[in-house]
Point group: C2
Chain length 327, copies 2
């Protein structure tokens, strides 16, 4: 069933039906009513594919995330989705599992769908993909991995600062054997946390450290902790790249009979809701996902002036998973 059937039933042209459906207020209210009636009676719903094929500006946005299973990404997705819905947009979501090849597919799908805007929240971006997005005139906002130069919008987080704070805080508590657990990903942002960790630790002559990486998942956190603790280096504090993995770390420590924080302190990153629900609740650095989702949305729909670079400052939150080092 199509526009044409509705038009026939309402004794108007398809053009008029289209106008009514798009709220172009040029239509006489009596004909508008007639059309509405026909639409209702036929239970008509426009073909979205035809619409975006014919139309100019697209009413759908896209979001690509590395790992929607991690609540950090999911929270961003949710606020973006809510914003989109409230403003009459659809949101297409895709996740890449940190696989470059999946990223490629996702980007192409988004281009193929001619999304009106795309939020890229991944940690494995490749320059040629950015170029491809650019060539196809897709308005894009990047989280973390955006190129510094393009006219595309960028949202960044000052990981370095928060990570320094965390390390200093732990060092102040007497910790001198520190470990960092990261996850596999090709690029910058998580590495920035790792680099900040290494550099900060290196400032303390007495401090020693290790690092290790695994998948971004509960299992990955546990497995990394297992690998770490089965070696000769026994850390008194473990800093994790995010809360999600930290939860896996907590489990491994528990299963080894190590108490948190009496034997080992643990920190996460992101401040996902779960971080308050596990035991002990995690010391972490808050990254405001809602704010990020909001910013992303605005960058995509608020016309034109999109070439900001916004920087967000995470805030350290101390909870029960950290404490003084064993003497």
């Amino acid at each position: 069933m199509s526009l044409e059937e509705v038009a026939r039933r309402a004794h108007v042209s398809t053009a008029t039906v289209s106008r009514v459906l798009n709220n172009l207020d040029v239509v006489k209210s009596s004909t508008r009513a007639r059309v509405m009636k026909a639409v209702a009676e036929l239970n008509y719903h426009p073909n979205l594919n035809a619409r975006s094929l014919a139309g100019s500006r697209s009413r759908t946005l896209g979001m690509i995330a590395s790992n929607l299973e991690n609540p950090f990404f999911f929270d961003i997705f949710q606020t973006l989705e809510r914003n989109a819905r409230e403003q009459g947009y659809e949101l297409l979501a895709a996740h890449t599992d940190y696989q470059p090849e999946q990223l490629l597919r996702s980007v192409r799908t988004m281009i193929g769908r001619r999304v009106g805007g795309l939020a890229v929240v991944v940690s494995e971006m490749q320059p040629d993909l950015i170029e491809e997005l650019d060539r196809n005139r897709i308005r894009t906002v990047f989280y973390d991995v955006g190129p510094a130069m393009t006219g595309m919008a960028n949202i960044r987080v000052n990981y370095r600062r928060a990570m320094e704070d965390l390390v200093e805080y732990l060092h102040g508590l007497g910790h001198n054997r520190l470990a960092f657990i990261g996850h596999h990903s090709t690029l910058a942002p998580t590495n920035e946390r790792e680099r900040a960790f290494v550099e900060t630790v290196s400032r303390y002559p007495a401090a020693t450290w290790r690092n290790i990486a695994d998948q971004d998942s509960l299992e990955g956190g546990q497995s990394a902790a297992r690998g770490l603790l089965s070696g000769d280096f026994q850390p008194t504090a473990i800093l994790c790249v995010n809360d999600f993995m930290a939860i896996g770390v907590l489990r491994e420590l528990r299963e080894r009979g190590l108490r948190v924080p009496e034997d080992v302190s643990v920190t996460g990153f992101d401040n996902i809701r779960l971080s308050e629900y596990v035991w002990p609740p995690l010391t972490t650095a808050d990254i405001p996902r809602n704010h990020i989702g909001q910013l992303a949305f605005e960058a995509l729909v608020n016309d034109g002036s999109v070439s900001h670079e916004t920087v967000i400052q995470p805030e350290v939150i101390v909870r029960a998973s950290t404490g003084p080092a064993r003497s």
Copy 2:
């Protein structure tokens, strides 16, 4: 950039380019090569909207879930998505937050996109929506809430049986003051768990019970537990409609200084991965999400013969969150 440009560059018609792109093996291999070359050089990507508008069978599937934040739903989404991708389909996901009005929107979006198949994993289905899906010839598979009669596929879970097992197990442990924590949702499946709980408890003359509901979230679980425990009824065991909410319950108990399972036993449902990572790990009933995702996919793509009703039997898993009642 369009088919036509590719056609021009390869000195063939758009029809031929289309054939090549769709792997119709009628094309002479030399021309095929020429076309491929042009495609590569132009870095051409088909317009998916045009494709689904023109084409017959759609290469995209849809999934509507109540709450993708709950890992239970997310896991189904993931296996469905993986299956889809591997077979060359796209997956459009939507979530309804248990809001009937959002469900309506989601269904319409899916119809509007003319998805080739739709998995509906919600607990708030309305008959008229089913009819609308039917009228629009959308091949659909329901989880839990499908109508018994239609030609549409159905995947069901025998909640009753597992809930009975859980109650009997706890009763055997000496628990006589039981509570059930559910979540708000209009319809059948979660109520089935609740009903099974009530009926089973009622068989034991000595047993008393309460029930309460809140949102399906960590906070909702905590808030329900708070409401429950601030009353006069002090349960020795709390059965939750799912693991996600149970995690919230654990937190509330902890904050009240109640030990699990020494003071209160807690059970979940679903066996999400998180249930093994929290402390104490949850006694729960396993629902095989992968299997469900798999079944859903098959129901949607495996031609025609889709009118099965598959029933899944959950399996109780005992972990540390349950123990003997205090004497």
